[in-house]
């Protein structure tokens, strides 16, 4: 594995998040009935940042939930390292809300499918929208992002790694290639 290219740096990421925050507000006409749900792990940090930006823009709070999709994945037997189950924390009512799912990278779409399955068990949102920092293509399911920080064409030999300060110590998005 070796690092091939840096796609986004700290500033790029920050601007992308600001833009997405504006777009969310525009599409949903404000914060009423809006809620954000971040997919563990990095989706959660991104969701929190989005909420912060929304607060700065509209001076209103938006609730942020945490979703662990481990139990809903369809590929549990295919992954070599055993997934660890973490807590899901959605302690608000999602019925009739405009719920924006937040994740770092959109790739095959299977993670989002699992997330949709999980959310349905929590209630019936008015709409579910998807915000991702990076869309790298190669969808295997008919899933699309409503908001994307950057579209990056990649080959399947490559991996897109999103690093965030909250958990990785710095903000950057890089492409890594298998040797």
């Amino acid at each position: 594995m070796h690092e091939k290219a840096k796609i986004l740096d700290k500033e790029n990421i920050s601007r992308a998040i600001i833009r997405i925050a504006h777009e969310i507000l525009e599409k949903n006409k404000g914060t009423e009935n809006l809620c954000l749900v971040g997919i563990r792990n990095r989706g959660v940090h991104l969701a929190k940042r989005l909420a912060e930006n929304i607060k700065q823009i509209e001076n209103k709070d938006v609730v942020v939930g945490v979703l662990d999709i481990t139990l809903y994945r369809d590929d549990l037997t295919l992954i070599s390292a055993q997934p660890v189950v973490h807590k899901t924390e959605i302690d608000f009512d999602i019925n009739d809300k405009n719920l924006v799912l937040v994740d770092d990278v959109l790739y095959t779409g299977r993670t989002i499918r699992a997330a949709l399955d999980a959310l349905i068990d929590f209630g019936r949102p008015k709409s579910i929208q998807l915000a991702v920092l990076v869309d790298r293509g190669h969808r295997e399911l008919p899933i699309r992002a409503d908001y994307a920080g950057k579209n990056i064409p990649t080959s399947q030999k490559e991996t897109v790694e999103v690093r965030l300060e909250e958990c990785d110590g710095k903000d950057e998005v890089i492409i890594v290639e298998k040797d």
């Binding site: 139990l71 549990l76 037997t77 055993q82 660890v84 189950v85 973490h86 899901t88 068990d121 929590f122």
Partner: protein
């Protein structure tokens, strides 16, 4: 820390890390039972068979609820085992269940080592729901989970176990689990109910209930197993309550926030008074709730381990 055991037979063979993994996983599963729709698809399409050779409602129902909340299909087989009855052997029954392509057998049997024997002969997962006097791992796990929830940690705690220790699989599993996690365990019972060598398992022994309660952070009160009594020297019920029963009066001499546990069902007026059973120190009902989360975690982990150990389709 990766869970790699296809079976859960006891706590004796588990490492501290494995114990903690189960408890952490159980923590995540606890949330599922608070949802509107108490289900996750983790074990969808899997079949869990409850094979109970001893009468049990609570444990069996608990496993059933746990399996169903994981979206598994559950089959219950309740048979009465007797050494005289010439029925199908345990191994044959297990092989038949395996042939039905079930994924997990949850077995309760009155012979110590029965779960181990099944696990030796079967490729599917075996979860021990109690084998003779040997172990009842999920009970001890939920006891420990409850304690951790209430007191924040296990390490350094003083936990006393009171009751028929000699014949108790709950006691043995608890002693293994608690000592591995750093608690100090004391067992308390009339002399004939303390088995030989229990100190080698890491437990301190006392025959004095007040001493057992004095510095205890928690007391786990076991059922007095009258239906297993054979010895002529077995103490009478009232005598037992007088000398070992947990009463409000006795608890006054213990720590104010001592946690009182019981695996259930309670013999009110024998192991403890109703006052204590229903009192503020009792976490008996919370144990039941936690039992679901713990059993969900166990079923999930063993199913995972078995799936990832599979190279080809079964």
């Amino acid at each position: 820390m990766v869970w790699h055991r296809k079976d859960l037979l006891g706590l004796e063979e588990l490492s501290k890390e494995e114990l903690e993994l189960i408890l952490n996983t159980a923590d995540s599963f606890k949330e599922v039972s608070t949802r509107e729709i108490k289900k996750v698809p983790a074990l969808r399409g899997k079949t869990v068979v409850n094979l109970f050779y001893e009468p049990s409602t609570r444990t069996r129902v608990s496993f059933e609820v746990a399996a169903k909340r994981l979206s598994a299909d559950v089959i219950n087989i309740a048979t009465e085992a007797s050494s005289v009855k010439k029925g199908e052997t345990l191994i044959d029954t297990g092989m038949n269940i395996q042939a039905l392509k079930a994924d997990i057998i949850v077995v309760r049997h009155n012979s110590s080592g029965a779960a181990a024997m099944l696990a030796r002969h079967l490729a599917i997962s075996v979860v021990n729901a109690g084998d003779g006097w040997h172990e009842h791992p999920t009970q001890a796990l939920l006891d420990i989970f409850t304690l951790k929830e209430k007191l924040g940690k296990i390490e350094g705690l003083n936990v006393s176990i009171v009751g028929d220790i000699a014949h108790s699989r709950v006691a043995r599993s608890n002693i293994w689990g608690l000592t591995k996690l750093g608690a100090k365990v004391t067992v308390c019972a009339p002399k004939i109910l303390i088995p030989e060598g229990i100190e080698k398992m890491g437990a301190h022994v006392t025959y004095d209930i007040d001493e057992a309660l004095r510095n205890a952070d928690a007391v786990n009160v076991l059922r007095m197993q009258f239906e297993r009594d054979e010895s002529a020297a077995f103490p009478q019920q009232l005598e037992y309550f007088k000398n070992f029963g947990i009463t409000g009066e006795r608890l006054e001499k213990a720590k104010k926030n001592i946690v009182v546990m019981h695996p259930g069902p309670i013999n009110r007026g024998i192991e403890m008074s109703s006052e204590v059973a229903d009192g503020a120190n009792s976490v008996i009902l919370e144990q039941v709730t936690n039992g679901i989360a713990v059993r969900m975690a166990v079923l999930f982990l063993v199913a995972q381990a078995r799936d990832s150990n599979h190279e080809t389709t079964h």
